[in-house]
Amino acid sequence: MPNSLVLLAVMASITFASRLLPFLFFSRNHPPRWLATVETVLPPLVLWLLVFYSLSGISWHTPPYGIPALAGVSIVVLVHRWKHSVLLSIISGTAAYMILTRLLA
């Protein structure tokens, strides 16, 4: 438990720092332009890397050959492009994953 409290404190500090930084460095309204460019391009890169990372435990050569995960991701993409509702996308994708995991087990 103390370990997870340290983790929580570290993560809380990082999150707060990310919110605080622009206010510390740019008390007037002239942040450099390159910063804005880098900050718009980095989030999608990091988030896609996290998507792939969270899928890295899947074994593609043994049943169910990653089918539930691929289907789950596809459904999240389709539902989210369609409705743009965070919750609906997460629930439908996770439900599809759970159902397929059980059906193909």
Partner: protein, 231 residues
């Protein structure tokens, strides 16, 4: 200030934050439920929602213990995952000027949803601005914490772990990735992420794939965007 005016500001904030209420209660519930299912105590989930207050980071913390990521990698990932908050802050510099006592909390409480609200509500009267912003931010966090508590208690009531619930983490990352991709209208970051992951998994030990992908991918994107800037 007159109490009646305060009540008016609060009612205004409650009205503005309705969409956040609809989003944060269920999403907070999903987080609280997933946290308890991952083996955490209900109060740990609630403490996270009070002090971290970032859906992506909190789900990421749940994934950490499951994936056995090293602390150093976890810290780098968390910094990058939170970069968008800095971006939001850049757009809120002017709005938050003159909020004095409330500024630290307003800064702490920047989330995707609150940022969207604060940048779309019409500029309020200067005399009520601070109180309206605080009310909006506080209500949003209240919804998030309340949702977490409900979900965590529900999770405690379900004694058996539901296999597959951990996929909600992947699903959340996909959602956030789609939204940030739509914002920049470019599939280049997706392509770079895919390429570095595939190549990395072929030539690197598995624990090095993520950190190396971030470093190489960032470098590639900085070079690529510098090119498109001139176009």
């Amino acid at each position: 200030m007159a109490p009646m005016e305060n009540r008016y500001v609060f009612r205004q904030a409650a009205h503005y934050t309705l969409p956040a209420l609809m989003g944060y209660i269920p999403l907070g519930m999903a987080f609280g439920f997933a946290a308890v299912q991952a083996g955490h105590a209900w109060w740990y989930a609630v403490t996270m929602s009070i002090f971290v207050y970032s859906g992506a980071t909190q789900f990421f913390i749940l994934g950490l213990s499951a994936a056995g990521m090293s602390m150093a990698t976890a810290i780098v990932m968390a910094c990058l995952l939170n970069l968008r908050h800095s971006l939001y802050g850049l757009s809120l510099l002017t709005k938050f000027s003159g909020t004095r006592w409330a500024k630290p909390y307003l800064i702490f409480a920047i989330t995707d949803e609150t940022f969207a609200l604060l940048t779309t509500v019409e500029e309020p009267d200067p005399s009520t601005k601070t109180r309206l912003y605080v009310a909006i931010s506080l209500l949003d966090q209240l919804y998030w914490v309340a949702g977490t508590l409900i979900g965590a208690l529900l999770g405690t009531a379900v004694p058996v772990a539901i296999a597959g619930i951990e996929f909600s983490l992947t699903a959340l990352f996909v959602v956030l990735a789609i939204e940030s991709t739509e914002k920049i209208r470019s599939l280049v970051p997706l392509a770079v992420a895919l390429a570095t992951t595939v190549v990395g998994r072929l030539i690197l030990p598995s624990s090095a794939v993520l950190p190396v992908s971030i470093a190489v991918g960032t470098g590639m994107l900085v070079l690529l965007t510098r090119h498109t800037d001139h176009a």
